[in-house]
């Protein structure tokens, strides 16, 4: 009857295979933030395997020993109220485990919310990442350039993503570089990351955002410092600037390939208020809640939401473009396909 033993062995072997498997993106980090998270996850898996082992051993023991068999026929178990010492043990030990994991959580959460230790003295490269429909816009205010559906960054450099959305809530996630964070229309969220290894990593939206969600991926390319500078220079020399009209058209399109511009939309369509600044203001008690909300509204007026394209949203026809190859795959630059 006890067929759970082999089942358990099967799980255990699967879990033990975990760290060795390189296709598991989350446990194959390429930067300090993702490495902190990977270490945290492996640690928690080990602790939890310990907990599982205790429960499973007890479980198998009682099931084997106290099952009804011919030899104990007619045995009527005694009344057993409980035992305060035993019960205290399984209250106190879990509390210790939870306390330990709480310390780890608080420490690592703080670590990944801030610039990694080894990059503390650098001025981070700020990249604004905003989402609209099912695409990502990356603005580089320092360089004065903007890309769509791909992001390039230099290796060994602190990068600070500032995220917001022109529509639904999305979540920017580059599993091998950092954990994800939401991009919302009414506030700015910040994600700190940096890469140790050059290479191309998959980035995506992790938060369900409607029909085109499955295709909302982008490439995060980590370049050497020279290659990065060269790329920036090339963009400035060759790409078109981003005008307000072009940007509005861009917002309305649902899917698009890669795009590159030699100016950013931040100048004519500024991002919403920084969440951390809002907190700081409130700490100084200079702004009450109402003013805070008004600040939000001010931002909204110059930060219009895109019109959902009426055609594809209203009729029940499937969007033919969705069957096309993924727009995030390396499509040649400066080509776009409008979904209309």
């Amino acid at each position: 009857m006890n067929k759970k033993g082999p089942l358990f062995a099967f799980f255990l072997s699967l879990v033990l295979l975990l760290p060795g498997c390189s296709s598991i993106a989350v446990l194959n980090p390429k930067g300090p933030a993702a490495r902190t998270l990977s270490d945290t996850i492996v640690l928690s898996i080990l602790v939890m395997l310990g907990v599982l082992a205790v429960v499973y051993i007890l479980y198998i023991f009682v099931l084997v020993k106290y099952r009804a068999k011919k030899s104990n026929e007619g045995y009527i178990p005694e009344h057993e109220e409980g035992n305060k010492w035993l019960e205290a043990i399984w209250i106190i030990i879990p509390i210790i485990i939870v306390a330990f994991l709480s310390v780890v959580t608080v420490k690592t959460t703080n670590e990944v919310e801030n610039v990694a230790e080894e990059y503390k003295d650098q001025k981070p490269l700020v990249i604004y990442a905003s989402s609209s429909n099912w695409k990502w816009h990356f603005s580089y205010p320092e360089e004065g350039i903007e890309t769509v559906n791909y992001v390039n960054m230099p290796v060994h450099r602190a990068v600070e993503f500032r995220m917001y959305s022109f529509g639904t809530i999305t979540s920017l996630w580059i599993p091998q570089l950092a954990g994800q964070k939401y991009a919302m229309s009414d506030m700015l969220t910040t994600l700190h990351l940096s890469a140790d290894t050059e290479g191309s990593y998959i980035g995506k939206n992790a938060n369900f955002s409607g029909k085109g969600f499955a295709h909302m991926e982008f490439e995060a390319l980590v370049l050497s410092n020279e290659q990065y500078d060269e790329w920036v220079k090339e963009v400035k020399d060759t790409a078109e600037p981003l005008t307000e009209d072009t940007f509005k058209d861009l917002l309305a399109i649902e899917h698009i390939g890669r795009k590159t511009f030699s100016s950013t939309h931040l100048t004519f369509s500024p991002p919403p208020m920084d969440h951390s600044e809002m907190d700081r203001d409130q700490d100084h008690d200079q702004m009450d809640m109402d003013n805070g909300n008004m600040e939000h509204q001010d931002n909204k007026e110059i930060h219009p939401s895109p019109e959902p394209s009426a055609e594809t949203e209203f009729d029940g026809e499937p969007n033919p473009e969705l069957d096309q190859p993924l727009p995030s795959s390396p499509v040649e630059e400066h080509t776009s396909h409008n979904s209309k």
């Binding site: 759970k4 106290y66 057993e80 409980g82 209250i91 959580t105 809530i169 995506k204």
Partner: protein, 647 residues
């Protein structure tokens, strides 16, 4: 009127569903007319206020919904079984996973549990009925018509498609212009009101109607779990009511609570939703803990180990369940401080839950364990749910959650919690209490077959999802490319889902087979039970107990059998019973019309049915029917007939 809005286009699957719904409806109508069962249906079921019949109807509806939600699940697993399959398009897939979540949580798990508690709780506490029998009927019909309203969305106008959590602004008119999310707000609202009424009803029932001598700390564990659950319902459901009302205003009347412009706050919805949504998880899990406690005690022939700590652990869980909602959006950028607070409160839930696991293990220790079908589900629950629990602790760690959030890892985790925690429990409870209600057992051999299919296939289906999550596969993704490498594990998961379906089909076959061939149980106590529900006859007479039992110990019926403590004292006298009424059913129908009219903004029928609701409520309030008495002679005759002996 624009009829186009009612139509759902272009999907052979949906046309198939339309035709089968139409055929089934015609079949039922013809069948009822041919066998002249309309009167029987109306007198015995639609107008009933008997808690047992209401419970049975709840369970029937929940079983139907289990299969509806199960078909949704199969469609999703099939669509993602291999890269770039074209079985469902994105829109259809979105509707399928949204309704799968809604149906399984709100229209399967919760009603199944409410059904079991309707049947069992009055019996377990030695009562003749619930505190407010007519209100109980109102609860059921509101749930039922709420469920029907959501179910017709598939073929009329389109289903909700913004996920079961319906995050704004995605669920707003701007980004979801079909009527799907109107259905969401109204169907959930109508059945939610029913649930809230149930909450009040059962709190009063348990607190006021216990048999003499049954102090709070002598209540059976299932009764305790239901009491705590209903307290959670009464605190959590008003939040859902408000959130859904605001959602309805946003979608139907152009208010802007959750929009992107004019001061609307999208995260306000997320907060309100999860302030209800997280306790909701415990609304379906805690009664399951109660069911398992009863079954473990019965089939290891022991009293429950650590009764007091079991009760307190549930009380602590109920409080903590309200303090953890923000763990559903650690990634909102609320900062390390807030995330740390919610991490710690979330992980703290593991402690009382662990207490329960160890108490169950120690109940088994020194027992004499028999492996009946309900016990098998209970025993499988322990190791599987523990995996769900430990992965829950992993998810609770805010930093690590940045990597799990919105991925298949999360999907795996909550299925590892909810399927053993709620689905196994209701199946176990169903097998366990079935003979009490119908007077015969389900076949044990078929039961075991179904169990092994379900337990093993469950792991094959959901364990691979942990790995898919860590590989970076996000949830709610309807397709993926071959290069991602998600294909093989998804195929394995689909194979598991096929196994699960086979298990559930065997379960249904078992019900059919047992109804035809299983012999009647001769006494009302087939499992050698411990609690009061086994002390009355099977099937249960309308008045439950001819004489209200007197309780002296925790496992009152067990003590009565072991130590010959008499349960019944005194003579049989006349018994007061409430009379049946058709008004709750009519109220449900009008609510359905009201909801449907609002979904499509048909204002005139909406206003008329709104007035209709008020009129029915008014006539119910001024109803002067005080019920009737069953004369003592009739009770004695019934008892004789049921037992074949002189009382």
């Amino acid at each position: 009127m624009d009829l186009e809005r009612f139509k759902v286009h272009g999907e052979p699957l949906i046309y198939g569903a339309m035709i089968s719904i139409a055929l089934a409806t015609i079949g039922i109508i013809i069948g009822l007319t041919y066998f002249k069962k309309w009167g029987y249906l109306w007198r015995e079921w639609l107008t009933t206020v008997d808690h047992k019949r209401i419970g049975v109807m709840y369970i029937l509806a929940a079983l139907l919904m289990l299969f509806r939600g199960g078909i949704d699940a199969m469609m999703m697993r099939l669509q993602t079984a291999a890269p770039e399959l074209k079985f469902l398009d994105a829109q259809h897939y979105n509707e399928v996973f949204t309704t799968h979540g809604l149906i399984m949580i709100l229209f399967m798990a919760m009603p199944f549990i409410i059904g079991l508690m309707n049947v069992i709780i009055p019996l377990q506490i030695g009562a003749r009925d619930v505190a407010f029998p007519r209100l109980n009927a109102v609860s059921f019909w509101l749930f039922f018509f709420g469920a029907m309203l959501l179910n017709i969305s598939f073929v009329i106008g389109g289903s909700p498609d913004a996920g079961w959590s319906a995050y704004f602004p995605l669920a707003s008119l701007e980004f979801s212009p079909t009527v799907g999310n109107n259905y969401y707000s109204l169907a959930l609202q109508i059945s939610g009101i029913g649930t809230l009424i149930t909450g009040v009803n059962f709190i009063v029932t348990i607190l006021k109607m216990r048999a003499p001598g049954m102090t709070l700390m002598k209540m059976p564990m299932f009764t305790w779990s239901v009491l705590i659950t209903n307290i959670i319902i009464v605190f959590a459901f008003p939040v859902l009511t408000v959130a859904l009302a605001l959602m309805m205003f946003d979608r139907l009347f152009g208010s802007q609570f959750f929009t992107m412009a004019n001061g609307g706050m999208d995260m306000l919805w997320a907060n309100l939703f999860w302030v209800w949504g997280h306790p909701e998880v415990y609304i379906v899990i805690l009664p399951a803990f109660g069911i398992y406690s009863e079954i473990i005690a019965t089939f290891s022939k022991k009293n429950l180990y650590g009764y007091t700590s079991m009760v307190f652990s549930m009380l602590i869980i109920s409080v903590l369940s309200f303090l953890v909602w923000a763990h559903h959006f650690y990634t909102m950028g609320q900062g390390a401080m807030v995330n740390s607070f919610f991490s710690i409160t979330t992980m703290a839930i593991a402690v009382p839950t662990g207490v329960k696991i160890f108490n169950w293990l120690f109940t088994l220790r020194k027992g004499r364990i028999t492996f009946t079908t309900p016990m098998l589900y209970t025993l499988a629950f322990i190791p599987i749910f523990t995996i769900g629990g430990v992965t829950g602790v992993m998810l609770a760690m805010a930093s690590a959650d940045y990597q799990y959030h919105n991925t298949m890892f999360l999907v795996a985790h909550f299925h590892y919690v909810l399927i053993p925690g709620a689905v196994f429990a209701v199946i176990a409870g169903f097998h366990y209490w079935f003979p009490k209600v119908f007077g015969f057992r389900l076949n044990d051999r078929l039961g075991r077959h179904a169990f092994w299919w379900i337990a093993i296939s469950f792991n094959v289906t959901f364990f691979p999802l942990f790995f898919l999550g860590l590989m970076g596969m996000t949830r709610r993704t309807y397709t993926y490319s071959a290069e991602t490498g998600y294909g093989p594990l998804n195929m394995l998961s689909f194979a598991g889902a096929v196994g699960l379906s086979i298990g559930f089909l065997i379960l249904v076959y078992n019900i059919y087979w047992s109804t035809r061939y299983m012999p009647k149980d001769t006494n009302g106590d087939p499992w050698d039970g411990r609690t009061l529900e086994w002390a009355t006859n099977s099937p249960i007479p309308a008045y439950n107990f001819a004489i209200v039992p007197k309780v002296e110990t925790r496992d009152a019926f067990w003590s009565a059998k072991q130590d010959n403590i008499p349960l019944y004292e005194g003579n049989i006298t006349k018994i007061h019973m409430p009379s049946n009424t058709g008004k709750p059913f009519i109220l449900g129908v009008i609510f359905f019309v009201f909801g449907f009219s609002l979904v499509f903004s048909l204002w005139i029928p909406a206003i008329l049915s709104g007035i209709g609701i008020l009129i029915v409520l008014a006539t119910m309030s001024f109803d002067r029917d005080h019920g009737f008495y069953i004369p003592a002679e009739e009770v004695i005759a019934t008892e004789k007939k049921l037992r074949g002996e002189t009382v």
